[in-house]
């Protein structure tokens, strides 16, 4: 019945070893102090057991030296934990330049994935080993969280903003994918498989199957279908800002301030166009909230971004200056 039950998750990503190293350090500290306290309690309880009914203990009121000792030692141990934990977090937080980008959209209760060449998957993710992969993730409804235990990576997927998760798979194989943030009735069914493949196998997989249009091409088509191109002209300023070579730049806002044109800002400008209007333009644009899905939003963003990086291969997009892991918040409350 219980023939296959591991006690420890596989180390299948470049990050896993770093995370496990802190874990083992923590386990050692925990074991040391738990055994120390339990050992002392049991030893004292036996050694100083009450021998006759009216016996009382010795009056010992304390010791400043001991108090300082057991304040300072735990303090230093915890500071080691803090610095180590923060360092690993930093390493896992910044995706390297040139990471392969994949779009992920969470919805109750499935994971929809689109690769940059257009291939789609549901509840699966195929990635090559040895290459950093960066997931740009959004949600269509409630909170979700993308979690691959064998890679030791997780990030919440939050409606209204984009979160990024990156990893480098190191061992070919199939790994669990879980939704880790409670999202309703079939939360525990929002699971899937991450398949890490040798690069050649991955290329073969990518070119097999029925590939849809790339997100950039789909975005371009949407841009025309939604008649965005009547205001956002490609060669001159129309009623809306010209989008060519705009991505990654800073723009001045009406009423002061600047904003960097990143995924979050483009998303906000489509969904809540009045939130941050570029200086020199009228707040004419209608909202497209409800008219475009999360996936279409990602396609539109991919298209706008492609207008600023002519000639570069899709999927090797340079690191955007400020990915909205948090610092720029796409949603602002408007009156």
């Amino acid at each position: 019945m219980f023939t296959n039950f591991p006690f420890f998750p596989q180390q299948a990503s470049a990050q896993a070893g770093q995370v496990d190293a802190i874990y083992f350090f923590m386990v050692a500290v925990t074991a040391f102090f738990s055994i120390l306290i339990a050992g002392l309690v049991v030893y004292f309880a036996f050694k100083y057991r009450r021998r006759h009914r009216d016996e009382i203990g010795h009056a010992i009121h304390g010791s400043l030296a001991l108090e300082l000792l057991w304040t300072v030692i735990p303090f230093f141990i915890t500071m080691v934990m803090f610095v180590w934990g923060a360092k690993v977090f930093f390493d896992m937080y910044r995706p390297p330049a040139g990471a392969m980008e994949i779009h992920v959209v969470g919805k109750q209760w499935m994971w929809k994935v689109q690769h940059m060449d257009g291939r789609r998957e549901i509840n699966e993710l195929h990635v090559p080993v040895g290459r950093p992969v960066k997931l740009i993730m959004g949600s269509e409804d409630v909170l979700h969280s993308y979690y691959i235990p064998d890679f030791r990576v997780k990030a919440d997927v939050i409606p209204g903003r984009y979160n990024v998760l990156w990893f480098t798979a190191t061992r070919p194989g199939n790994y669990h994918l879980f939704c880790a943030e409670y999202c309703g009735t079939k939360h525990s069914g929002m699971i899937g498989t991450v398949t890490a493949m040798e690069p050649a196998d991955f290329q073969a997989w990518l070119s097999g199957g029925r590939a849809d249009e790339s997100p950039v091409a789909a975005g371009e088509k949407l841009f025309a279908d939604l008649t965005c191109n009547t205001c956002h002209l490609t060669d001159t300023q129309g009623r809306g800002p010209m989008l060519t070579n705009l991505f990654g730049k800073q723009v001045e806002l009406q009423g002061g301030g600047t904003v960097t044109v990143d995924e979050a800002y483009i998303r906000e400008s489509i969904v809540l166009p009045q939130a941050k209007v570029v200086a020199g333009f009228q707040p004419l644009m209608p909202t497209f909230q409800g008219l475009v899905t999360e996936e279409q939003l990602l396609q539109l963003i991919a298209y706008v971004r492609s207008l600023s990086q002519q000639g570069e291969a899709p999927g090797a997009a340079p690191q955007s200056p400020t990915m909205p892991q948090s610092s720029s918040r796409p949603v602002v409350e408007k009156k």
């Binding site: 591991p6 009056a59 001991l66 934990m81 409630v142």
Partner: protein
């Protein structure tokens, strides 16, 4: 023929339901929180039953989600938060400080009625179909997606919060204003210090959760855009507001338990505590610093990495005063006269389990490690070691220690020792495997799970079965003691403290003559100072 005490001084339902005596109100709380404890336990048992097998076969997914939601709501808001303060604190604080009652007896009674009203709302929510948001009520699920009775349950939490605020207020005023002559701050029992610190958290934190659940209701009913991005809100804002209360709420649960342990360890080692002022001030430090760590619940929710670092370092700092307490309790039993009566067994259980619970919290405060562990069973195991291994062990230890005082009756000590052993073994068997399955990656709140996690879940369910026997046993020997137990003398343990100088059970006015205090509590060794007059 019986002497007059608070129990036989007045008969009939009205004499209880309209009482202003803090001791009777404590018993009203005891009955009501015991009801909620077993209700929450029943939900927990349904969870464990479902998780015995990987497939979702006992409950539907919807009902499973309601079970863990109701388990969390009932246990946190209707058992753990009121447990020690409202029962033991209510009963003992006035006696420990030599007062006749709390500063505001009517307010104390109203607090209980508010608690019951909040409880009724929660029961209505449970009986009319349940809630499925998780006890955390995370948005936008709770405001936009959930089809269950969110508003009713949220109102229950909102209402019962006022009971907490008023109790905290009552304690603070009482401790400031009603101490007996000579009872200076540094002669106060550590139980009183712990409740003082707890009351600060109750007063300062609870209004925030009240506001937060009201905002959830406003968004759900009136579609005000606060948390739901579709309405222009921010879902992570909810998490900040929620944890601003709910992390300090953990200290509302654990600080009173720490106060209980300080009393028990001294009484059963017949020795004053080691490092009194360090234990007293560490309670205050925990209460204050505990307000600044909430962000460690949202390391992977896209919080700024610099904010995350600040929350991580403060979370480590708040661990230090807890460590100080554990070392001081251990040092207290050194060269004591140790008797392993049932309250002391619970206190030792607390020491072991709280140590593990606290140390595993350090794992989760390490940002890089939390990425992997967040929202897994490792977190579930960690907080149950604190809340069940810490807070409930403290509560049960305190209940056993003061039961003869509260009821005037002695319970069966062998039965109590057996229960303490079952609770300790059952608890560890339930929750230790969850650390392992959590690191393997099993997410919390999962109705179904991959088969390779089963062995750990079977162990957990077996442990939970033992644990529930351990929890049911006291119901029998406590109730038995009320009817058949031997009468307890004023001081059955040979312990020190004002509460052991009044008769068991105490008279309504506690003290015939207000005592004059000349030294701290738990002074066992002969001293030049004279005792309490």
């Amino acid at each position: 023929m019986d002497t007059l005490n608070y129990i036989n001084n007045g008969h009939g339902l009205a004499s209880w339901l309209l009482t202003k005596d803090h001791k009777r109100i404590a018993l009203l709380y005891l009955v009501s929180i015991t009801f909620f404890f077993f209700l929450g336990g029943l939900f927990a048992f349904m969870i464990r039953l479902e998780l015995l097998t990987p497939a979702g076969d006992v409950l539907t997914a919807e009902n499973y989600n309601k079970m863990f939601t109701m388990h969390g709501v009932v246990m946190v808001f209707f058992f753990l938060i009121p447990s020690i303060p409202a029962v033991l604190g209510n009963f003992l604080i006035p006696i420990m400080i030599g007062a006749k009652d709390l500063a505001f007896p009517r307010l104390n009674l109203i607090s209980w009625y508010i608690y019951v009203l909040g409880g009724i709302f929660t029961l209505v929510a449970a009986l009319s179909g349940g809630v499925d948001t998780g006890w955390t009520f995370y948005t936008p699920y709770s405001t936009a997606a959930a089809n269950s009775h969110v508003i009713t349950a949220a109102l229950g939490v909102f209402i019962t919060g006022f009971s907490s605020i008023l109790t905290g207020l009552n304690f603070i005023v009482t401790i400031h204003r009603m101490r007996a002559p000579g009872l200076t701050w540094f002669r106060l029992p550590l139980f009183v210090w712990a409740h003082y610190a707890t009351s600060l958290v109750m007063i300062l934190g609870t209004p925030v959760i009240a506001i937060t659940v009201l905002l959830v209701a406003a968004e759900r009913v009136l579609h005000m855009g606060i948390f739901d991005p579709a309405l222009g809100g921010d879902p992570v804002l909810f998490q900040h507001l929620f944890w601003f209360y709910s992390h300090p709420a953990v200290y509302i649960m654990i600080l009173p338990a720490m106060g209980v342990i300080s009393e028990i360890v001294q009484a059963f080692a017949r020795k004053n505590v080691f490092g009194y002022s360090f234990i007293a001030f560490s309670s205050l430090a925990i209460a204050i610093i505990g307000f600044l760590v909430w962000g460690h619940h949202i390391f992977v929710a896209g919080q700024s990495v610099y904010a995350g670092m600040l929350f991580s370092i403060i979370s480590y700092i708040v661990a230090v005063p807890s460590a100080i307490k554990v070392f001081n309790w251990t040092a207290t039993i050194y060269r004591g006269s140790i008797s392993l009566d049932s309250p002391m067994l619970y206190a030792f259980g607390f020491l072991g389990l709280f140590t593990i619970g606290g140390l595993t919290g350090l794992f989760l405060a390490a940002m890089g490690l939390d990425i992997h562990m967040h929202d897994t069973y490792f977190v579930v195991a960690h907080f149950h070691y604190i809340m069940v291994g810490g807070a409930i062990m403290g509560y049960l230890g305190g209940l056993h220690y003061w039961w003869p005082k509260i009821t005037g009756k002695l319970y069966s000590e062998p039965a109590a020792k057996l229960a303490a052993g079952l609770v300790f073994i059952g608890f560890n068997l339930t929750f230790f495997p969850q650390f392992l399955v959590g690191y393997l990656g099993m997410p919390r709140r999962y109705h179904m799970y991959p088969p390779e996690f089963q062995v750990f879940n079977v162990m957990s369910t077996l442990g939970a079965t033992i644990l529930s026997v351990g929890y049911l046993l006291p119901m029998f020997y406590f109730v038995h003691s009320i009817f058949r137990g031997k009468p307890s003398p004023a001081d059955p343990w040979g312990a020190k403290g004002l509460e052991w100088e009044v008769p068991s059970p105490p008279p309504t006015e506690n003290f015939a003559v207000t005592p004059i205090v000349t030294h701290g509590t738990h002074q066992y060794a002969p001293s030049k100072e004279v005792g309490v007059v």
